[in-house]
Amino acid sequence: MQGAINRAFVQGAAAVSSALALVLSVGPAQAADGTRSTVNMAPGVTAVGQSIYDLHMIILWICVVIGIAVFAVMFYSIIYHRKSRGVVPAQFHESTKVEIAWTVVPFLILIGMAVPATSTLLEIYDFEDAEMDILVTGYQWKWKYEYLTEDGENVTFFSNLKTPQSEIYNSADKNENYLLEVDEPLVIPVNTKVRFLVTANDVIHAWWVPELAVKKDAVPGFINETWTLATEEGIYRGQCAELCGKDHGFMPIVVKVVSQEEYAQWQGEKQQEAAQVRELMAQTFTMDELMERGKAVYARACLACHGANGEGGVGNAIAGSPVATGELGQHLNIGINGVAGSAMQAFGGQINDVEMAAVITYQRNAFGNNMGDMVQPIDVFNYKKG
């Protein structure tokens, strides 16, 4: 029994170290089909990412070698220096020379590690010569991207989780990008040094895209900078990395790296869209139009907290609520400015005036509220103006 247990121990511990070695051998980064490895860090598509990956592997291997040496000595003892073999224990218990040796040698190894680590770190901290700036703002629980330009005509949009509740709550099959898909990805051009200015609106978030080798905390009230230079077109997915409340696990990041031409075209379309929205602002809508638009906005912005049928959840019920069936000004106020100290955010800056008008109208006339009144974009605009 005793012998069996001891042999099992040797095997068990050997299994742990061989598992580590196994991982390293399958580790090398990219699996054959080009998808990301499920057991190791992604070198990604940036020079910095490659440096980090190389550093990671060097240090891992150094650790493995030291580990094998230490465990070899230990298991030699466990196998050969055991009482059951009738050995007489030695009584030596100190050696200054040995102590100095295993203080100095590891120190030298550390210096060897510190050199490449320092140069990679300096590379990461080189913010110079960025060709474009994007302001990234973390919200509970979505990201806002703003392309900063000199003329102030910035393209701005929010990027929300696209995975439907039905997939999360298991009533529908999960698609392959489950939880890693958004309604509107960030688009950046390939081979361009893009600087990200990272901040947050409420609590601390962290913007992490492994394959772009970027992770930076988004701190409310402060602006951090980081950058990337992607060398391959593609779609890269990441997630918020800092616990930020209830839906921390549900605010993914998707970055589309496209060719320069495609990027220019996309920018043009976004500018045009913005112009269209400005045009829409001046329009007057019919009830049906407002309800149709409002339903879509509701699904995107309100549903998660207030329920698909306005029944409430994290947020209060909309159906029959004193706000949605009460005075219009108060309803607009809450929609635009939120409720301080609660989960109800200020949506005034998150959705445009057309969307706000539509969703308020929708809330007042759906779910059996039937107030019969309408809000036009101009009303929202005027309300904001005061």
Partner: protein, 523 residues
Amino acid sequence: MAHGPAKGISRWLFTTNHKDIGTMYLWFSFAMFILGGAFAMIIRAELFQPGMQLVEPAFFNQMTTLHGLVMVFGAIMPSFVGLANWLIPMMIGAPDMALPRMNNWSFWILPPAFLMLASTLFMEGGAPAFGWTFYAPLSTTYAAPSVTFFIFAIHILGLSSIMGSINIIATVMNMRAPGMSYMKMPLFVWTWLITAFLLVAVMPVLAGAVTMMLMDIHFGTSFFSAAGGGDPVLFQHIFWFFGHPEVYIIILPAFGVVSQIIPAFSRKPLFGYDSMVYATAAIAFLSFIVWAHHMYTVGMPVAGELFFMYATMLIAVPTGVKVFNWVSTMWRGALSFETPMLFCIGFLVLFTIGGFTGLMLSIAPADFQYHDSYFVVAHFHYVMVAGAVFSMSAAVYYWLPKWCGKMYNETMGKTHFWISFVGFNITFFPQHFVGLAGMPRRIPDYALQFADFNMMSSIGAFIYGGSQILFLYNVVATIVAGKPVSDDKVWDGAEGLEWTVATPAPYHTFEVPPTIDPAHAHS
């Protein structure tokens, strides 16, 4: 002169006896270990498959938060205080702790504090849900009202720890038997002495942090809010100035335990006693100047990153010295593998792996990928569970016969070890992979490519959790109906004054100080 314990409940309520108080600490910490473990089981059950099945995200966050808080402050820390209470007076030849009545208080304020913390689960808005690191402003402006109770609980825990530490420092400095110089103290006493200084230094810092939170929440200050001129990152600096020494507070007594047990079952003195003491002191010193390695991605200037990276890497040196010394102690010994030794070898193997991942995490540029991923979760469970909890299990098996005069069931003990060892590795080894592959920590649901390893992890967690029931059963069965042990020295290789008193250890020991053989180096 010699009198026994009081009868009934008053024995426990009013006791000033270090053994009784030690026993209460140990049972309390085990109860918290089970509670914190139950939270972990809920976490792993939810993460068994992608999709939300059992709990809501908000409750999931409460579970991760309470799991961390209860394990760190309720299970691990009090368990080592219990061990210190039982063993330090017996190891240094003292009749009791220096401040026995304060000792009673430092224990008895703990249960109400944890009761209060656990009661937040039933409050409106739920329990704290901001992680055990409670970063502002998630833990201030955006927290549920129960945060105020959390703050009060933390204050009481801190108070308890500070009182316990003062007691240990006073005992070790003043109550050693004549002839027991510092460099003759058992290593467990040394590691606890250094730990106690760390606690006295950093617990007030934690109290400061939660007090500032309280002010921000209720009294209109803006310590951690940029809108009022404060800084959310300030919170992290303060927290980790406490938090990094805190992890050494947890692991140093574990080092002490292992340094007692490995020589006993190697039948050979500890190799490099002096260097072990110096290495412990070096680790304690370094622990004060490395806190920001938890904050590499927070936006520090590059000079700060470099300083904290170099300082953190340095910790590998004294930690390496310790591992080398333990292995050298085993080298050419006459080893046997009773349960305490198995847990110590398990500690040595797994703690070394945790140390390596710690070294990897210290590399700031690589940490930009590791940070806040499951790689970190794997790392700190290798050092906290395989480090602190394994060594604590070793300690219980090793000293239990001395405490209660009965021998535990060896086969059951070994079974407990093997199930724990296998379960632990199935749980946490795959977490390295999902972390490197990009899975963030503290998420209630995950993308499909992480599914296989998460399922494996959950199965391992249930195995590891279940093995603790066996532990509980073994300990209770030993106390109730174990085979009596009559030798003072339970283990043939054991060294130290605690093995010179009768078995089971009488209610009062060393009423007359023992004589220390001046020729004998240390135990």
